[in-house]
């Protein structure tokens, strides 16, 4: 646990370095970074030696565009060669804006929202049918909860009492263009999931202690879908883009990247001149 902030810091550096020469969805990647680092280092039984083991755990990254956080985490835990991150968007590799299974450790491709709650549900159902003990985590975006299929999956998980399935909502308060509450309000989100039959915990998604306390309580209630609503900040770690609706997909200049890396370390703020509201 002690070194988690250091790992998360390095993952954020990787994310920032991928946000140029074509760019990436930097805001969502930074909001999910601590969740993803915590889960791979401290909760999930997933490593480079057990990827073919049917008894290992699973993580499905449903919102998809936060995959730079996953690439960075994979580099830090030895699932991916760190040098490979330099191939981001290269036509000669497979490291692009959404997850794909040509990268060992990625369970399923995503990018079309509201798909992986159902896929994760299927995996969890099979594990239950076979009497397995492995746990299935699905990370969702809060904007993604607009999609009805997320709620269908919750209904079905409830019907099958899938307490081996954990939905983690990266509640960074923004979808692509604006604050979630200004478009399709989600609150009271805790109550919504509770009404769907889930056992819900709402925590600070940037606190490793809070993450540890929540996940240590798995399964939250016997026979119930586990839901963790992780309150996070879009662009966490970079004050110049934090919680900004117009900084979703970012394609920074090389100079901005150097400045943002210093900003991440707390040394300076960045004067951003690159285009905002880039849509991919």
């Amino acid at each position: 646990m002690n070194n988690l902030p250091d790992i998360a810091f390095k993952v954020r550096q990787h994310i920032i370095r991928m946000s140029t020469d074509g760019g990436c969805f930097v805001g969502a990647s930074l909001s999910a970074a601590d969740l993803i680092v915590y889960l791979y280092t401290s909760f999930l039984n997933i490593n480079k030696d057990n990827l073919d083991d049917p008894d290992r755990d699973y993580l499905f990254l449903s919102k998809g565009h936060d995959v730079p956080a996953l690439y960075g985490t994979f580099a830090e835990i030895g699932l991916m060669d760190v040098e490979r991150l330099k191939n981001h968007l290269s036509v000669d590799d497979n490291i692009y804006w959404h997850p794909n299974t040509k990268i060992p450790g990625i369970e399923f491709h995503s990018g079309s929202l509201g798909h992986l709650p159902s896929v994760a549900l299927g995996v969890a159902l099979d594990i239950k049918m076979r009497g397995g003990k492995n746990r299935v985590v699905c990370i969702l975006g809060d904007g993604e909860l607009n999609e009805g299929t997320c709620w269908e999956a919750a209904l079905v998980a409830n019907a099958h009492k899938l307490d081996n399935l954990i939905f983690v909502v990266d509640r960074n308060q923004f979808q692509a263009n604006m604050a979630t509450e200004d478009l399709i309000p989600l609150e009271p989100l805790h109550d919504k999931f509770t009404a769907f039959g889930a056992a819900v915990k709402r925590i600070d998604g940037h606190s490793f202690d809070a993450l540890h306390e929540a996940f240590s309580a798995y399964p939250f209630e016997t026979g119930k879908l586990n839901v963790v609503i992780a309150d996070t900040v879009r662009g966490k770690g970079l004050p110049s883009i934090q919680a900004r609706a117009d900084r979703w997909f970012c394609n920074f200049t090389h100079e901005e990247v150097e400045s943002l890396l210093k900003e991440l370390a707390g040394d300076e703020t960045t004067n951003l001149t690159s285009e905002t509201l880039v849509v991919r």
């Binding site: 074509g22 998809g64 968007l89 290269s90 036509v91 497979n94 692009y96 804006w97 959404h98 997850p99 794909n100 491709h109 995503s110 990018g111 079309s112 929202l113 509201g114 904007g143 993604e144 607009n146 999609e147 009805g148 979808q175 692509a176 263009n177 478009l183 399709i184 285009e275 905002t276 509201l277 880039v278 849509v279 991919r280």
Partner: protein
């Protein structure tokens, strides 16, 4: 004039228009302020947006819907078929980043079966814009037609001056007796380059912009089949169900034989930035020309602009 400017002009002055989006605002950033309640963002809910659009159309509105092509054509498919197609309601779909325009997003975002899917629905008409000028020249006609319509949006700029748009008519760019390229959408700009290279090699080359894919210009297809030794169906779409299929169906219907080279995709393409995608997949103008010729040339491929999605 841009897509957004024309949409604004039409919608502000005509109460029938409702501009909708499933949280994809790249083309319509300024519409909320201009339209007030007639701008409806349903959030990331493609299916619900299409169903709601059908309800609005039942009440006499013309809903113009914006979402990524893959989600509009595939996720919302049954809603388009059942709620807009069966009752033949004027629900107008503006499909963003179709085909290669999804560049680095990956297979989830690659709409390269959308033409096949959408043209398979009775009543639904299907169109593709060769560039921004072509797009702006076609939308008023499409939106004023009584049918549901699926439009592949393309806001890239070329120097070509298009002729007026008519539903069911191809745009004849050039006529030739050796080879005729039939294409639509983004690849129009590469086809222009390919035509120049082929002409330099001494061939008589034709080019059709098949901007109305359904209804399609059967007469134009039959004419080039009879006057050109080789037809090339060039598309950023699977060969199955796209223009290659449309041409094959048309030839069979009219009992006309022709030599046709399918120049489309058989699988999902490699995600990367657009210029790299085109080169990797063999769709630059120079690559197209050389594949048709069967040999290499000294032609120079002009630089391909990266997409401008920033508003």
């Amino acid at each position: 004039m841009s897509y957004e400017e024309l949409l604004t002009e039409l919608a502000v002055n005509d109460e029938r228009f409702i501009v909708m989006t499933a949280e994809n605002r790249a083309l319509i950033r300024n519409l909320p302020a201009k339209l007030g309640k007639r701008f409806v963002d349903t959030g990331i809910t493609e299916q619900t947006m299409v169903g709601a659009a059908a309800g609005l159309a039942l009440r006499g509105r013309i809903p113009v819907l914006h979402a990524l092509a893959s989600f509009l054509s595939m996720r919302a498919f049954e809603f388009v078929r059942t709620d807009a197609g069966i009752p033949n309601l004027p629900v107008k779909l503006s499909a963003f980043i179709p085909g290669f325009l999804s560049d680095g997003n990956g297979a989830t975002h690659q709409a390269i079966e959308d033409v096949a899917i959408m043209r398979g629905i009775p009543n639904v008409t299907v169109f593709a814009a060769a560039d921004e000028q072509d797009l702006v020249g076609m939308i008023e006609t499409i939106w004023n037609s009584p049918n549901p319509a699926y439009l592949r949006i393309n806001t890239r700029k070329t120097d070509y001056q298009h002729t007026p748009f008519k539903i069911g008519k191809a745009e004849v760019i050039a006529e030739g007796t050796d080879v005729t390229i039939l294409t639509y959408g983004l690849l129009f700009e590469q086809a222009l380059i390919a035509v120049d290279i082929l002409k330099e090699q001494g061939l008589s080359v034709g080019l059709l912009n098949m901007r109305s894919l359904k209804p399609v210009d059967e007469a134009a297809i039959i004419k080039v089949a009879k006057t050109s030794k080789l037809l090339v169906t060039l598309e950023d779409h699977f060969n199955t169900g796209g223009l290659y299929s449309i041409v094959a169906e048309t030839l069979l219907k009219h009992q006309t034989a022709a030599k046709v080279m399918p120049y489309g995709l058989d699988k999902w393409f490699k995600p990367a930035l657009l210029p790299d995608v085109l080169a990797y997949e063999g769709f630059t103008g120079k690559q197209i020309a050389e594949k048709i010729l069967g040999y290499s040339t000294n032609a120079i491929q002009p630089e391909i602009a990266t997409p401008e999605f920033a508003e």
